[in-house]
Amino acid sequence: MEMTFTRRAFLGGATALAVWPSDLWGAAKKGAKKRNPLPPDLTSLWEKPDGTATDNVMVRRMYLDIAGRIPTEREAQDYVHSKNPAKREALVMKLLESKDFVDYWTMRFCDILRVKSEFPINLWPNAVYVYHARIRSFVESGETWEHFGRALLTSQGSDFRDAEVNFFRATDRRNPEGWAEAAAQTFLGISPADLDRKRKTSFADCLSNVRIKNTREWKEEIVYVDGSDRRPELCDMIFLQNRQAVADAFLMRLRRWIFGPSAPVKSAADSKITGVRGALREIMLSPEYARGSVTGGFPARRLDAEILDDAFCSLSGATRNYQSPAPEPFSFLPPERQTVCIEDGSISSGFLSLFGRPARDTGLTDERGGDVTAKQRLYLFNSGDIHRKLGKLAVPQWKMADGSINPYYKNTPMPKRADGIYWRILSRSPSEYERKVIVNMWRKRSNGGKNRRANHGEMMRDVAWSLINTKEFLFRI
C-alpha cells in the first residue's frame, strides 16, 4: 500500500524516463553483462600524495570545527574551485567572524560551565538565558579566558541580572568545596577526583564567605559575600601562580575538542591566555590540522549530536520541535532554531541523547559521547524520523533557494543528480566509480528503462540514505 502511495506521490513516470541521458543509458546497458565494478583506491578523494587533506575534506572540516555545521553545496564549491593560494587562511578568518562560530563555540563552553535549567544543576530558565548570553559574549568579543574567568570568580548580584554569578549556582554542590572543585576543573582542567586536598582547601578558604540567598522573585537568587572578599586572592592563585597551567588547560581543552582525547599535549607559548578565536585560529592554521585522515594521521571523530541534527534538518528542509519542560507551563522553541543554538541543556530529545549530547551535569569534557553504537546505526538505518526527513528531499523545484540545481527534482539529469547529492551531503563530487554504482542500481530497478514505474525520487532518496550512513558523512574526517 505504502509503495503505491510513494510512487503516486513521487513517480516521474514517462517524463522522467524520457530525460534520462541516452548516452548514460548506453553505458549502463553495455555494462549490464559485466560484473559490478570493483572499488578502486579512492584515497585521492580525501588525501593528497603528500599526506595532507584535499580541499574538499578541508572545507568540510573547517566548517564543522569552526562553524559547527556542514557547508552548503555552494560554500564547498566556492572553496574547492578558488584559485586563491591563501584560501585556507581566508576561510578560517571568515568563519571565525561568523555567527555560526559564536553559536557553536558558545555551545561548547556551555557544556563545561553546566548551563542547564534543571536537575542536578537547577539554574532555571531565566538564569540559563542570561548566563548563555554572557558566555556568548565571551566567545564573540574575543575576551580572554583569564578576563572571563576573573569576572566569573569575583561576581556578585542577582542570577537574573548579573550573569556571571551563575558560575556559583551551576554546580551540584553550592558550598566552598563545591565551588573550589568547579574552579579547579574549569580553569586548571583538574577533575574533582584529581584535585589534591591542599589546593582544594586553599581555594575553598578564599570562597568561604560566599553566600547565596533567595529573593521574593520566583527562582531569583543573590550571590554575595558575607565578610571579607578573598576571591581576588583566589584569582591570583589561579591566573598568576598557576598561569602556565591555566593557559595549557585552555589550549588542551580546545585541542581535545578538535583532535579528540588522544590529542598530543602542547604547552601554551609564554603562558599566554587568549580568547577562543585566537587559540582556534592558531590550531586551524597549523600543519597538524591539514593532515589527511586516511594515512596522514588526522584523527576523525563522529559529528556532535547537535551538528548531526542540524545537518539532517538543513539537508531535508525539516524543522525541529524542541520544548522546555521548565518552568511550567511548557515553552516551545521556534522550529527553525538550530540545535547548536539551544541555550538550555535541559532541552533535549531522544536523538540528542542517543548521539551523546552531554547532560551538562558534571562539566567534564568527556561527558559528550563520541562513540558509535548499534543503536545509533539502527536509528539512521530505519527510524521513522530519518525516513520522514528523507521523504522531504523530493521538493518540486528545479532549483534550490540558493540557485543551485536540486538533485532530487524528477527531471534533473542523472549525472547532475549524483553530483548534486554528493556535493550537498559529502561536499564533493562523486568519483566515476560511485556514479557507476548509482547508475547500475537505477538500471537494475528500472530493468534497463523498460520499467516505467521505477521511482526516480525513491532511487535518489535511497542514494541519500546511503550517503548519510557512510563514515564520510557521520565523521569529521
Binding site: P39, W46, S383, K471, E472
Partner: protein
C-alpha cells in the same frame, strides 16, 4: 532461590496518588478520599481503590507497599532518588537501576536486542545511564504499540521500505561507504563503526524484530490487555521478557494531577488496571512470573488532602512522606501488604520503606549485591547503593 532473570518496570511518571491506587481510605472524610470507595480483593483483608477492579481480582499475584517514604518533593530529584537510591551531588550522576541491572546481566543475556528496552518514550528530564554513557543507553522504541504496525524506531523498517528495497539500500551503502583507513588512529574507529553496523543489521534483520510484531498474539489476549497504547505496551513488555531482555521499562506519563485530579485518575486507572492485571496473569500463565520482577510506582505520591479550591479544583500536589508501590514475581511473594499508613495516608505508621530498601530488594532478587561495586568511568570505588535510610530490604515478602 534462583535470581530473577528479568524486570518489568511500570513507571507512573508524575507521582500517582496513593489514595486512588493501593492505599484507599474509605473511612476518611471527603476532603481526603474525594467521597470514593474501596473494593475488596481476592486476598482477604486487602482492599484497593474502586478504580482498580481487575487488579483487585488477582491480588494474590502481587504485593503492595503502603509505607514508601522519602523527603524529595520535586519530580527530577525524587525520580533520581527512586531510580538510583541517591540524592544528587558529589559530582557524579549515577545510572538508574534499569541500566545497572541490564549491564550486570549483559553477559548471561544472549539476545540481539539491547539488554534494556524502554516502551515507548524515555522519562525525560532525567538520564537513565548517568556516567555510564551512551553505550549503556537503553533502546527506546518510539512508535505506537496500538497502531496496526508497531513501528519501533530503528528496528522495524518504516512504511514503504520493503525487504527488497532495504536490501538494495544496504547494497548501495556497502559500495558507497568507501572512506576506510586501514591503519593508524582511524582504523580503530572504522572497526567500531563496522561492528556497530553489523550488530544493528543483525538486530533489524534477525528474529529480534519479530518481538515487536504484536499481531502474532491471539486477538482475544490483545483485547484483554486493552486496545490502547498502555495495554499493548504491557503486551510488548511480556514479549520482550519472553525473548530474554533483562530490563524492560514501560513509561506511563500523566499522573501529575495537580488539577482536576479525580477526572485524571479515573481515566488513567481504567486502562492501566486492565493492562497490568492482564500482564501479571499472562506472565503467570506462561510460567514467566517466577523469573520476572514486575514493579509499578512513581517518584512520589500525592497530598492526602484534596485541594478543592481554585486553581486546583479538586487536585492533589506532590507528596513524598507516604506513598505506595506494587511488586510482583521474580522472588517477591504475592498477596502481601508491607507497611501501614495513618488514617489519611499521610505518614507511614509502621515499617517505613526507603527508596534504597525498595531498589536494594530488586537488586538482591536479581542476584546483584546492592553493596557491591558499581563499575564507573570516573575512577572511583562506588557501591551500587548507599546505606538505607529506611527499615531495611523487603525480606518479609521474599518467597
Amino acid at each position: 532461590m534462583r535470581p530473577a532473570k528479568s524486570v518489568i518496570e511500570i513507571w507512573l511518571w508524575g507521582g500517582p496518588s496513593q489514595l486512588e491506587t493501593f492505599d484507599p481510605k474509605p473511612n476518611a472524610s471527603r476532603d481526603y478520599n474525594g467521597g470514593l470507595k474501596s473494593i475488596p480483593t481476592n486476598v482477604r483483608g486487602t482492599e484497593l481503590h474502586e478504580w482498580w477492579p481487575r487488579l483487585a481480582g488477582c491480588a494474590d499475584l502481587y504485593s503492595i507497599i503502603r509505607s514508601m517514604t522519602h523527603r524529595q518533593f520535586g519530580h527530577e530529584t525524587a525520580t533520581y532518588l527512586m531510580q538510583t537510591g541517591r540524592l544528587p551531588g558529589g559530582g557524579e550522576v549515577f545510572p538508574a537501576l534499569g541500566t545497572v541491572i541490564a549491564q550486570a546481566k549483559r553477559r548471561e543475556y544472549k539476545g540481539d536486542l539491547p539488554p534494556s528496552v524502554i516502551l515507548t518514550r524515555p522519562k525525560g528530564r532525567f538520564s537513565e545511564v548517568g556516567f555510564l554513557g551512551v553505550e549503556a543507553a537503553p533502546l527506546v522504541t518510539g512508535g505506537r504499540p496500538n497502531a496496526p504496525r508497531f513501528a519501533v524506531d530503528g528496528i522495524v523498517p518504516p512504511d514503504g521500505i520493503t525487504s527488497q528495497r532495504a536490501k538494495e539500500r544496504f547494497e548501495l551503502l556497502s559500495k558507497l561507504d568507501l572512506w576506510h583507513p586501514k591503519k593508524g588512529v582511524n582504523a580503530t574507529l572504522v572497526s567500531e563503526f563496522d561492528i556497530a553496523g553489523s550488530e544493528a543489521r543483525r538486530i533489524a534483520e534477525g528474529d529480534a524484530a519479530k518481538v515487536f510484531d504484536l499481531s502474532a498474539e491471539p486477538s482475544a489476549l490483545r483485547d484483554e490487555y486493552g486496545r490502547n497504547d498502555i495495554g499493548q505496551s504491557m503486551l510488548a513488555a511480556r514479549r520482550l521478557v519472553e525473548y530474554g531482555v533483562p530490563y524492560v521499562t514501560v513509561n506511563l506519563s500523566g499522573w501529575d494531577s495537580h488539577k482536576r485530579h479525580f477526572e485524571t485518575m479515573k481515566r488513567k486507572s481504567g486502562e492501566t488496571d486492565a493492562a497490568v492485571a492482564t500482564l501479571l496473569k499472562d506472565l503467570k500463565g506462561k510460567g514467566l512470573l517466577d523469573s520476572t520482577i514486575v514493579w509499578m510506582g512513581g517518584e512520589f505520591g500525592r497530598t492526602p488532602k484534596v485541594g478543592w479550591e481554585a486553581p486546583w479544583n479538586g487536585g492533589r500536589n506532590h507528596y513524598a512522606k507516604c506513598f505506595s508501590t506494587l511488586v510482583a514475581g521474580g522472588g517477591f511473594k504475592g498477596g502481601c501488604v508491607v507497611g501501614e499508613s495513618d488514617e489519611t495516608a499521610s505518614v507511614p505508621v509502621s515499617r517505613p520503606v526507603s527508596p534504597q530498601d525498595f531498589i536494594g530488594s530488586i537488586y538482591e532478587l536479581c542476584g546483584i549485591d546492592p553493596e557491591g561495586p558499581l563499575p564507573n568511568n570516573v575512577g572511583k570505588k562506588l557501591p551500587i547503593l548507599p546505606p538505607s535510610t529506611g527499615g531495611g530490604r523487603l525480606k518479609e515478602i521474599y518467597a
